[in-house]
Amino acid sequence: MDWFKRRKGIATSEKKAIPDGLWVKCNSCGEIIYRPELQKRLFVCPKCEYHFRINSKDYVEYFFDPDSFTETGANIKPADPLRFRDTKKYTDRLKAAQKTTGLNDAAITGDATIEGKPVVCAIMDFTFIGGSMGSVVGEKIARAADRARERRVPLIVISASGGARMMESALSLMQMAKTSAKLAQLAQEGIPYFSILTDPTTGGTTASFAMLGDVNIAEPGALIGFAGQRVIKQTIGQDLPEGFQKAEFLKDHGFVDLIVHRWEMRETLGKIIDLLWAGGGKAKNNGKVASGEKAAKASRSSDAVAPGKN
């Protein structure tokens, strides 16, 4: 039973979305899952459907058409405008994160297609300093919005973020205003913006672009909220209800439109883009309004093959 111990040790590391090792324990039901099997299932637990946290590259593979993604803005790198230092230097934290993730910062952007339909996308990565939004994330999302506006194609932002990045202080805060302003411009041109909220999406990210989709779609069970649960508990002096700040809670309270299984995301997005934006927004409405969630459920039961692996 050596591998049990090893896996446990690695699981305490915060750097990885999913621990290395051949066997992975489900965070929700405790099921021990064979890693290749889990990967085939797009990191969704076969027993309880728990959606593991995955990184930006996985989302590129799972949510967009195969090989359709072309990265843009890859040369945008973080600076250290405040020469920030807490117990460590910000520049050291950046270097460490860049080394472990292979990313420049907590988001990648690019052009891609979904079911053949062109989109511009930005994908956050929780493994890079908690997916925190600093100047680079703000700038990349702003440019993605501009690009969507220029190309007249839908914008998709996949969020996975603890919020604004403290080490860039007020400049991080301003990224909330910057990204929202760019989305306002996009909206004025009548181009759709879809926000995909994954586990977790909190703080300044939720309080800006993540909540502003024409359609907000969450992955099942994702933590989505504004304030941290510890802070809320301290403030109100009582325990929080079960399921608080989960995707389902947000849907019940009217802040996300749909909760879509990871396997069904591409198909659902494709359908919604078709309805809202067929022919670049010029097509006539052909009547039928789809319930994406229902459609997603129906097709999930019929086919367990991962769309990214077709």
Partner: protein, 321 residues
């Protein structure tokens, strides 16, 4: 200047003591007719010198404390002194009326305006009513409702930021605190009237920014504005919230720092010792700065105004490529 305060900060004590002594001597002189003007003059010079010395080199943490001073003028204190015919309006037309957010219409000289601001309380009772200046979603939605009214009736919007943060409560999450703030950011970016934002006390994070997107960002001298409170930052990054003074230093949250980072456009001077020493002077300085901006912004065609506003936010941040 002879004021009694509910709270005296450590570095304020010498000057508060001196002012007290001066007041006593003046009282004594009046009652007995004894001429104490030399002594009073000497003490006054001493107090002035101390003030000049201390307040010319305040640490970021000292400014945080001044920004939070419970005797500091709050939104309504300023509105009272700046605006005439102020009519407070209430409610978000969806859920309720948030007393932590003031919103209304009034005039600043001959400019009709919509005035919006966080409102703190002076004592426990008031603070329970005002929720310590921490708005709930309905506060942000009321603010948005009035901003849209401003657009409809072509009135500029003036906002006053003074909050320790948006309220982190259960109901706030249920009613979409994040969505309420996000919506305001998006709408304010393209609101077709001038927006002058003033920071008059604490500017904590999204709760502040929720009424903080505009054409001119003015910040009073002894305020702080950042992505999190120094205590919150210290607790997360230093794992020790008593490190708040060090965090405050690192966070570059004072007006001079933020001016350098282009987060704000202008610093509004405060009376010696801080705004709480003289409300009238503090408000007069604020009013002067607001009027200068209003006169400038009202001349700009709406399309240009919005274009410039978006460009302003587009440029924010620092990165390499």
């Amino acid at each position: 200047m002879n004021k009694t305060f509910r709270v005296t900060l450590d570095f304020e004590k010498p000057v508060v003591e001196l002012e007290k002594k001066i007041a006593e001597m003046e009282e004594y002189a009046r009652e007995t007719g004894v001429d104490l003007s030399d002594d009073i003059g000497r003490l006054r010079r001493k107090a002035d010198n101390y003030r000049k010395e201390t307040y010319s080199k305040l640490t970021p943490w000292q400014r945080v404390q001044l920004a939070r001073h419970s005797d500091r003028p709050f939104t309504l204190d300023h509105i009272e002194r700046i605006a005439t015919d102020f009519v407070e309006l209430g409610g978000d037309r969806a859920f309720g009326n948030d007393p932590a957010m003031i919103a209304g219409i009034g005039k600043i000289d001959n400019h009709r305006c919509v005035l919006i601001g966080h409102q703190k309380g002076r004592d426990v009772k008031e603070n329970l009513h005002r929720n310590f200046g921490m708005s709930n979603p309905e506060g942000y939605r009321k603010a948005l409702r009035l901003m849209k009214m401003a657009a409809k009736f072509k009135m500029p919007v003036i906002t006053f930021i003074d909050t320790p943060g948006a309220y982190p409560g259960l109901g706030a999450e249920e009613r979409g605190q994040a969505e309420a703030i996000a919506r305001n950011l998006m709408e304010m970016a393209v609101l077709p009237v001038p927006i002058v934002v003033t920071i008059i006390g604490e500017g904590a994070s999204g709760g502040a920014l929720g009424i903080g997107v505009g054409d001119s960002i003015l910040m009073m001298e002894n305020c702080w504005y950042s992505v999190i409170s120094p205590e919150g930052c210290a607790a997360i990054l230093w794992k020790d919230n008593t490190k708040a003074p060090i965090a405050a230093e690192a966070m570059k949250l004072t007006a001079p720092d933020l001016l350098k980072l282009n987060v704000i456009d202008k610093i509004i001077p405060e009376p010696p010792g801080g705004a709480h020493w003289d409300y009238d002077v503090a408000s007069a300085n604020l009013k002067k700065a607001i009027l200068t901006e209003l006169k400038r912004l009202e001349k700009i065609p709406v399309e240009t105004l919005i274009e410039k506003r978006i460009q302003k936010y587009e440029a924010m941040g620092a990165w390499k490529e």
